[in-house]
Symmetry: C2
Subunit: 418 residues, 2 copies
Amino acid sequence: MTWQQLTDEQQQEVQRQLLIIKRGAADIVPEEALKQKVMKAVVTGIPLKVKLGLDPSAPDIHIGHTVVLQKLRQFQDLGHEVQLIIGDFTGRIGDPTGKSETRKQLSEEDVQRNAQTYQTQLTKILDLSKTTFYYNSAWLGELKFDDVLKLAGKVTVARMLERDDFANRYAANQPIHVHEFFYPLMQGYDSVSLETDIELGGTDQTFNILMGRTLQGAYEMKEGQVAILMPLLEGLDGVQKMSKSLRNYIGIDEHPNDIFGKTMSIPDTLMLKYYELTTTLSYADLHELSQSLEEGTIHPRDAKMKLAKAYVSMYHGVQAADEAEQHFITVFQKKALPDAIEEKLLRVNLLEEGQISIIQLLVALDLQVSNGEARRSVEQGAVKINEQKIADIHAKITPIDGDIVQVGKRKFVRLKLS
Amino acid sequence: MTWQQLTDEQQQEVQRQLLIIKRGAADIVPEEALKQKVMKAVVTGIPLKVKLGLDPSAPDIHIGHTVVLQKLRQFQDLGHEVQLIIGDFTGRIGDPTGKSETRKQLSEEDVQRNAQTYQTQLTKILDLSKTTFYYNSAWLGELKFDDVLKLAGKVTVARMLERDDFANRYAANQPIHVHEFFYPLMQGYDSVSLETDIELGGTDQTFNILMGRTLQGAYEMKEGQVAILMPLLEGLDGVQKMSKSLRNYIGIDEHPNDIFGKTMSIPDTLMLKYYELTTTLSYADLHELSQSLEEGTIHPRDAKMKLAKAYVSMYHGVQAADEAEQHFITVFQKKALPDAIEEKLLRVNLLEEGQISIIQLLVALDLQVSNGEARRSVEQGAVKINEQKIADIHAKITPIDGDIVQVGKRKFVRLKLS
């Protein structure tokens, strides 16, 4: 299909779609193929199949994840279809070497429960009527040894060892087990199985997504899928990729006050990136905001409050957003807390699975000198964390950087994990 | 089990067996484990399971193959059991890349027919009552993707790339497809499945056989199999490994006169190696023969005739051996052929699939000047190859080095391919 074969309206529609699709993408491979696919969809009226793989072991969606999810939503708004893959096959296998803690084996129930959690959370971003969920065990679980050999015969060892992490480990004499080669192959085979047109992912997924394109070719599909690679979003620390394990994330299911408060702690320099990648702000509005910040006609704090309010609004509704804003203003801006709160370090090795008892916390932060004294102040209702009263002496706390721990009217510390 | 726990008789029996087992072996890995296995077998009376894998695509057994087969027979004579694996699973798959001609896909019928051929030929060497045939599709064909991943998780990529041919190809930037890693894994998994104690093979099988030991360990079998690695036998050219494709072989199903004649063409220097590895000659007799040759009390030609006779006797019976010997003496030693026969080169590129028409052959060797003349001499019964008359003008010949081509009573040439 050539550009000249399209009517003026069709050409305009293709250009409109490409503009939206390309917004914020770090890379599109190959870009020409994307144009072809969109042209075909516009002319035939057949929607594109746009795929995203979900990790079945970590169903808590945070703002970092929403970068690709927002992009999926844009595709849906353009009339295309979304394929969400729950990678239950790999999840159920775990790591055959038994060495990786992060690849723990999930039970069928785990997978089901996590999928349910996803579905509940995703309804806040995607149009579920245009979304199909797939469990990749449906096809991968059916493959027999000869099918697997056929699959493995499509790629070379050298190609596999080009993947950054494999290359690095191989060079450093760190073991790569042969089965690990199958993770990209499985992800690619999903695309073969579902005849995916476009696969989304972070830039760290480049190799795996292009493998899908390679495999589709090897399985004789005429037009391989296109990779749309989105930038990785830095977390609250402003440096590392937002992730649960680094505790630098904003979860979309968190309490509105927490979402608001955490958003306010984003470095100013990242604010526009957050806006561009994780909100539905239009190009024009984004441009205006950028200019206003540059000219100083809007204060960064106010722009950030607008972002925080947008997040709470998206994930908990407009009313919750108003309340969270009010709470923030009351607690952090107008009232109570002294301007400069002393920062205290809390040693991470005191935590067990990220938690610490309230009693231990107060003593560790030198807010109380003994367990007995700490217990009493909790019982008396004098202890607050981020303005929320902790009255149960058995309470377990999950501390994060910036938590304000308060005893009575005078003692405050700002907690920092070390 | 320690050596001291054995009775004197048991110790003697173990030593007797080890002496026989080790005879001629190029390497035994690990040797200490072999001793343990034999000790256990002697004490418990439970025979060892000794495995050999057969290539389902090439069922014609030649003397080179008999090196491992004779070793298997020795195990049987010591009371142990033989596991013969027909690798039908790999044979039925072929090469998924479709690139390798040597890995052509075999049909179920091909495999069955080849297995039948093996069985018929092997009955001349093995005691089939102590031999069990297995088709590895029985277990490999049942594996599903998750089993395959488990299998692949047992070894590292670096370990695989240690295999000589992989290492060389990787270094030379020649493609290795991921499925190729599974050939050693499959062979090793056969040993897991059959709880093999000992696997035999040529020294070129070292990596694959040790993989079986590794995998047995990974699948938590206490005592991994022992590799008994036999030397590779040079073919008639005295240099390259005996193989069908190099046409330097003696097939056990060949005509007795051919077996005899080809054996007589072995270089003298290799004769003792052939005796040691491919006959049932005792240590004592082998030692005596070696000494007699050294002292010149036996002529190499006579020692070689004894070897030739032994082969025909083993594979076609004593009577055939006597006849073949008589034929050889009549034709090649006493009669007809002049002492010095002129050698003539025949260009290999004149052959089609190894064959040439008798007419073309006579002309190419300058025994006749024209096709017409050649045709007439064939029709008159004047043409012989190795003393056998060729009377059909449409006959196709498969020439090999040393063939004596004769026209009438005077014209002789000794053919050499070039």
